[in-house]
Symmetry: C2
Subunit: 249 residues, 2 copies
């Protein structure tokens, strides 16, 4: 799974992109496979796949392929930031789509009813339709500026270590049976909250995903870093500690 290198056709099948598109991305230096067979066949590995996802997110955000390449080559664009931006946009879009639905429902109702259909209704509907497709370019600079201050890879690695450390610390207190009200535990709970907030960017949906992820893949983590770093036994303990410290306020 981790080491498999995919040929273009395989990658195309699994992603829904066309072979031609992947060729094109290679040609313009956007996503270049890091390996080739002796005969020159492209072999795509994990980093390129990640990059590919980034490219598609940026394109959805309204960037041209050229702009996407620039963004990805400047190192101040972290993958995490890109995914978050994409998420934000998607949510806005869903809202826009809902509004457009309402307008179309209104139009549909007017057709069947005996009411004279006003041109104004159509104009407004068209405006909403174009808004859905637009509203990109105006805000792009804003986006780019906002992401300047985003995370680099080293910071990310540091935060991951912080997690491992914090999990181990909490685990220790838990195993000692330290009561939830103890000052030590409170301090840990505070750190926990802060780290969650940093990791998720304050997004509650991402937080839910994080929980699901840990519950599902805790084995992997435990195997990777050692049993002490398995987050699962720790999560409930922290949840209880946080609840307790809230109650005592």
């Amino acid at each position: 799974m981790h080491f498999e290198a995919l040929k273009v056709g395989e990658l195309a099948k699994r992603t829904g992109l066309t072979v031609r598109a992947l060729h094109h991305y290679d040609e313009i230096g956007l996503v270049k496979p890091s390996l080739h067979t002796e005969s020159g066949h492209r072999l795509y590995t994990a980093p390129e796949i990640v990059r590919l996802q980034q490219v598609l997110s940026l394109r959805e955000l309204g960037f041209s392929l050229d702009e996407a390449r620039n963004c990805l080559n400047r190192s101040d664009f972290s993958p995490l930031a890109v995914v978050r931006m994409h998420l934000a946009r998607l949510r806005e879009r869903i809202e826009c789509h809902r509004k457009l639905c309402e307008r179309l429902e209104s139009l549909a109702a007017q057709f069947g009813a005996a009411v004279e259909v006003s041109a104004d209704e159509f104009l407004q509907t068209i405006e909403v339709m174009t808004m859905v497709a637009r509203y990109f370019t105006p805000q792009q600079l804003e986006l780019i500026e906002a992401s300047r201050e985003q995370v680099g890879d080293e910071l990310l690695a540091k935060k991951q270590e912080e997690w491992a450390e914090l999990i181990a610390l909490v685990r220790a207190e838990k195993d000692k049976g330290t009561p939830l009200e103890a000052a030590k535990v409170r301090a840990l709970a505070k750190r926990w909250i802060e780290l969650v907030s940093w990791t998720t960017g304050g997004d509650p949906e991402i937080e839910k995903s994080l929980e699901r992820l840990w519950r599902a893949q805790g084995d992997q983590l435990a195997a990777q870093h050692g049993e002490k770093y398995d987050p699962r036994p720790v999560m409930d303990y922290m949840a209880a500690a946080i609840a307790a410290s809230k109650n005592s306020e």
Copy 2:
């Protein structure tokens, strides 16, 4: 409101389209203004605006401008059908977007957590992203076939008359104070339900819009066809009748 003819610039402003795009649509015979000033300035009136909306809906459905023109010129494509198809697609899209959101949330969570990010997750995410953009062409034939059996303008006009007639009939019974359980009223309720179903295509959201529309624009209808055809007094009466006939089952 009804008679105003818009110049390109005005239309562009109100719709969010560019002047160039409107010029282009004119060039290729897709949306041609029916009027011009003596000096050759384009003047867009209501029918063109409706057509413009249709064009944009069809484009959102994945048709090329050429295909859109063909559709609109064959008379078996009713505006109502187009709006309904667009609605259906939008709803599917919202669902897709939600799924994509979940995938992106999962990705975002993986970045921050210590878990090894698997390439497979990225592949799946990319697939969902391309699905959102695709899933058009495969189903287009299906759509086109489905819309062959759709409403023409005369049928639509007939249904509008049916509404006026039905409303008048119900109004008469209501004014006579006929009880809700009377066979006559039941028959009317049945016709009412059928006509609603036809008008809305069975879509509950469109039905809500229809109600809102009638409540808001009843005056207009009354003024247009005479007081007897004001739907508002009739709607509650019918709702009660329908509820009554359900209870007695």
